[in-house]
Amino acid sequence: MSEAQEAVLRLVGLRKSYNVGLPNETEVLHGLDLVIERDDFAALIGPSGSGKSTLLNLIGLLDQPSAGELYLLGQPTSTMDDAGRTRLRGESIGFVFQFHHLVQAFGALDNVLMPLMLRHGRPSVAAIDRARGLLAAMGLEKYAQTRPNQLSGGQQQRVAIARALVTQPSLLLADEPTGNLDTRTAADVFELLRRFGREVGCAVLLVTHDPRLSAACDRTIDLVDGRIVSDTRVPIGPSVSG
């Protein structure tokens, strides 16, 4: 049981069906069991349509499983109401999307502060310092007031990573974070994810199509047709920039 409390995430018999009750009901995830540890840096791979995004939505508490249980930080989530899941999501999960999904109306710094503002209103001085620190670490201190549409793709994605980390989440979910970046920028972004995952001390789960990225992760979870077909750990990941 101690393992369950230690684990950031534990899936037990997780199933997800769409169009429940309709003739075209389809089960996308067929009972997944998975444990993500605190220091995991894991890649979730699999062909299109294998259910990666569905699984990520479930883990991110954006969607609810049809059956099974999802423990986040040891807490069962299937019985939570929307407000409870929203709170837990805000406190413990950071998101990085394929398309950065920054809010265009705000400058980079305000985008990074957004998750904090959503929860506490006006950000504290300490929060602003932390956000500035993260931007600086991403090499973006000059662009604090710049609107997202005036930043390059790589810069936008780095702002998004800073935003995901500002709440010091326990789990960082990244959905094809480098999907629309060129190779070099992708490698930079990947390295940042890796570095900050370690520094902030949060588990990272990365959905990717890129075999080079997945090879650079400590752990690779292969999802095919809604089933985990392999789950391999590599002691130390090689560098991707080679």
Binding site: R87, F97, H101, F106, D110
Partner: protein
């Protein structure tokens, strides 16, 4: 905060809808002020020449002998002619009415018919005996004097301009008054007034109270008490209270001018209709702009939800936007209305002056804000109910 940023971001939309709201509010405020100004002008003109409440002695009725138990009585009754009579004990009634807080002034008046003659010319007039000092609080006669000076010593009379023209009278001329009681009097014309109502200017002759009492054969008596009250629209209530208090008849200006009151309330109704329909169209405008805004921001809403924004927060963002559309639009609209009113007062026909009441301004602000929030309710709910999974993937 978030709502403000969204407003700033969608600047084009924001400006468009705020102009829409502003125009609506300007129309509401201007039309309301116009009608209010018009109505108070009409009321003022009407009340400028008449008392708010008139207290009269009750009509005389025939007294019948009581009928014995079980007996049947057949009655044929002629209504009694209402002779001119004094209000009993009027000094005390005046003293009582003077103490009522809602009554501003009381003036005893004796009124009756007479012929006014000069040479061979004869006109029928309404003789009105007044105590000028008290009466000018009811009708500011000195303000209406166009020739001579307002005073009423014994042997002096003030006459209307029409009568002066008909009889060829000027200040200083003599006028013969005959009430058919074989006691005609000759009085000096000391002032000619013009009330602006032809009927009154042709028929009213003001005398001192004592002289009129003598002429009309009611020494020491008065036939009516004229009153003004502080709140003219409470005249009905006050009149009823006075009637109960004194046992006399009390008639308010509202009863006497029932036609006018009808017209006024019809006007108020049409103003209210304008307000309702303008509010409706403003509401639909705000609702449609926000609906578009919600669709445009679907993805951003999804991100906010993923980052820990609750449904309530999303709801609030759009409700606040609606309220701001209403509030800021109303501020601009009110400024516009002030300009319109100023233009009307300065360059308009000059028939009357339009005041803008503070209550109207506050009312418009509150109305627009409430309409904004209500209009935002449906789009806000839709935004709040968006499934974050769907919203994030929305392109």
């Amino acid at each position: 905060m978030l709502a403000l940023q969204f407003l700033r971001d969608g600047r084009g939309q924001t400006v468009t809808i705020m102009v829409g709201v502003a125009v609506g509010v300007a129309v509401v405020v201007f039309v309301s002020a116009l009608i209010q100004g018009l109505q108070s002008n009409i009321v003022q003109r009407t009340l400028g020449t008449q008392a708010h409440i008139r207290v009269l002695p009750p009509d005389e009725v025939n007294r019948r002998q009581a009928v014995a138990e079980g007996a049947l009585q057949l009655v044929r009754e002629d209504k009694r002619a209402q002779r001119r009579r004094s209000i009993n004990n009027w000094q005390q009634v005046v003293a009582t009415l003077d103490t009522l807080p809602s009554v501003r002034a009381v003036s005893p008046v004796i009124a009756g018919p007479a012929f006014a003659g000069r040479g061979a010319a004869l006109e029928s007039v309404a003789l009105t005996g007044i105590d000028l000092r008290r009466y000018q609080q009811i009708i500011p006669l000195p303000d209406y004097v166009i020739d001579g000076s307002a005073r009423l010593e014994p042997g002096e009379a003030m006459i209307g301009s029409e009568l002066a023209t008909t009889l060829g009278l000027r200040v200083g001329d003599k006028l013969r008054l005959d009430t058919g009681r074989d006691n005609p009097a000759v009085v000096n014309v000391v002032a000619v007034f013009e009330l602006g109502v032809r009927e009154l200017d042709a028929r009213n002759v003001y005398l001192g109270l004592k002289q009129a009492q003598a002429l009309l054969g009611l020494p020491g008596g008065v036939t009516q008490l004229d009153l003004v009250v502080d709140d003219i629209f409470a005249a009905n209530t006050i009149a009823r209270r006075i009637a109960r208090l004194t046992g006399l008849e009390a008639e308010s200006w509202m009863e006497k001018n029932a036609q006018l009151m009808n017209a006024l309330s019809a006007q108020s109704l049409s103003t209210n209709m304008i307000i309702v329909f303008v509010s409706l169209s403003v509401a639909f405008g705000i609702a449609s702009v926000l609906s578009v805004s919600v669709v445009q921001r679907t993805r951003e809403i999804g991100i906010l939800r993923a980052m820990g924004a609750g449904r309530q927060q999303v709801l609030h963002v759009f409700l606040i936007q609606g309220a701001l559309y209403g509030l800021v639009g109303a501020l601009v609209g009110i400024a516009g209305a002030y300009v319109l009113v100023w233009v009307f007062n300065t360059f308009g026909p000059g028939l009357f002056f339009i005041p803008v009441a503070h209550t109207l301004v506050v009312f418009a602000l509150v109305l627009a804000t409430v309409v904004g929030v209500l209009a935002a309710a449906v789009p806000s709910r839709r935004a709040a109910m968006l499934d974050p999974v769907v919203a994030i993937r929305y392109v």
